[in-house]
């Protein structure tokens, strides 16, 4: 994966929707847009590490928006990404309780595009917490659930990837892992309450 293909905005949206081309699309996003977004974050008081983290969250949010069919193409991808990054950074600043001056600057510069994007990325914090919950699972369970629910592999294909004897063993193990994950979610009632919005 040395050089990502050149994508137009429309081609990039299509590539994000396809499992086979998603890696290329992500690489293209990094090659084309990370610089401009990072400059913006650094200009508003972020460190290089902040810029890196914000851009990663921006890419995640953008892919989520595209996959849900919520990117309508009214703004260019570059403008849209910067709007997402601004929203994420604004929220980050609020969390860190940094100087009110910078926040005011943001408020003054906030346009309609950013407000629209703000509503689209409202559940980002909840998603982050959800990832933390999954992180509490053991590696074998995480791997198994990942292959089934993210890679969409069949039980037969999973037998090829993991050291389980047959499909029935995989099926049983997957059921137990899912139970384990749900138990962890239930152990965190506040997370379950917050995240119930996602499944609505």
């Amino acid at each position: 994966m040395k050089v990502a293909g050149k994508f137009s905005d429309a081609e990039l949206i299509a590539a994000i929707g396809e499992k086979e081309s998603l890696n290329q699309a992500i690489l293209f996003l990094y090659q084309q847009y990370s610089q401009s977004t990072s400059s913006f974050i650094i200009n508003y008081g972020g460190s290089e590490q902040d810029a890196e983290d914000v851009f990663q969250e921006t890419v995640l949010a953008f892919i989520g928006i595209v996959k849900k069919g919520n990117y309508r193409g009214e703004a260019s991808i570059k403008t849209f990404l910067v709007s997402i990054a601004k929203n994420i950074w604004r929220n980050e600043l609020k969390k860190k309780q940094r100087s009110g001056v910078r926040e005011k600057k943001f408020e003054l510069g906030r346009d309609q595009q950013e407000s629209d994007v703000g509503s689209l990325i409202a559940s980002l914090e909840e998603k982050k917490q959800l990832r933390e919950v999954v992180g509490k699972l053991g590696e074998p369970c995480r791997k198994l659930l990942h292959l089934f629910y993210y890679e969409n592999l069949s039980m037969k294909e999973i037998v090829e990837h993991l050291p389980y004897e047959n499909e029935q063993v995989v099926r049983n193990k997957k059921y137990k892992c899912l139970q384990q994950l749900i138990a962890i979610i239930k152990e965190n009632p506040s997370i379950a309450l917050q995240l119930s919005e996602i499944v609505k």
Partner: protein, 255 residues
């Protein structure tokens, strides 16, 4: 309609594979408890998918950063050529002052030395796949490299594991081009499928194969990537590698 939890999960998986993904609890779940469990299932799977996407983005980001680092190294190499003669003289003086140790370091640092120092046999016993022992595994454990290669050729269902073992056999037999091809196949298959089966192993031994072939330039992006990834199986090994030796070997290669 009442169903036990296992049946509920089966039903959920069916709607999941039908791509309807259970956005809402289906109508037949009149039972409030079942509907609640359905929501928890949906939440759990959302979490798995969210984590999967996060890891995929993080993985591409790491590769992109490794590319950036390599590009920066090449640029700094180009800058060296444009350094003024005075700066070059100062650099030469510093080199001379560094004395015999530095000279020895320079003379001894090479891709071959790095390969000899840091490559390690791959022990199948400590790896995954113990439940699927077969002839190829046995040949590998017995260090029958020719046997591994022959069995690979006749193997009908080739997997990342068989490609990897064939690559290791080629590497052990000093057939570096063949080894490189096999390891690249594993990485390409994973890029295609979005999986990471034998990915870490293939990346490390691909880098070792490039070093064995005296191609430091090809090995560097892989080594940078492994060094940047604390969860990589071979992170600790690569961190122990002398960056100075690598740079010297790379410089020698560019000369």
């Amino acid at each position: 309609m009442s169903m036990n939890h296992e049946q509920l999960v089966d039903q959920f998986d069916k709607t999941f594979t039908d791509k309807s993904s259970g956005e809402q609890a289906p109508q037949f779940l009149s039972d409030a408890e079942a509907a609640r469990e359905w929501s928890y299932l949906r939440m759990a799977v959302d979490g798995v998918q969210e984590t999967g996407l996060y890891e995929q983005v993080a993985s591409v980001k790491t590769q992109w950063m490794a590319q950036q680092a390599t590009a920066a190294t090449s640029q700094s190499g180009a800058v060296v050529w444009h350094m003024s003669r005075i700066v070059m003289r100062v650099a030469a003086c510093i080199l001379i002052l560094a004395g015999g140790t530095a000279v020895y370091k320079y003379m001894s640092a090479s891709a071959n030395h790095l390969y000899a120092d840091y490559s390690q046999p791959y022990d199948l016993n400590t790896s995954r796949g113990a439940a699927t022992r077969d002839e190829m595994d046995e040949a590998y454990r017995n260090k029958n490299w020719a046997g591994v290669t022959e069995l690979f050729k006749t193997k009908k269902d080739k997997t990342n594991k068989t490609y990897f073992l064939a690559g290791m056999a080629a590497l052990e037999s000093k057939h570096y081009d063949d080894a490189i091809g096999m390891f690249q196949q594993v990485i390409a298959a994973n890029t295609q499928s979005g999986s990471d089966y034998f990915e870490d192993e293939a990346e490390f031994y691909l880098a070792m194969s490039w070093l064995a072939r005296n191609e430091v330039k090809e090995a560097m992006p892989l080594l940078d990537k492994i060094r940047a990834d604390k969860n990589h199986l071979y992170h600790d090994v690569v961190v122990r590698m002398s960056t100075l030796d690598l740079r010297i070997a790379q410089y020698k290669e560019l000369k």
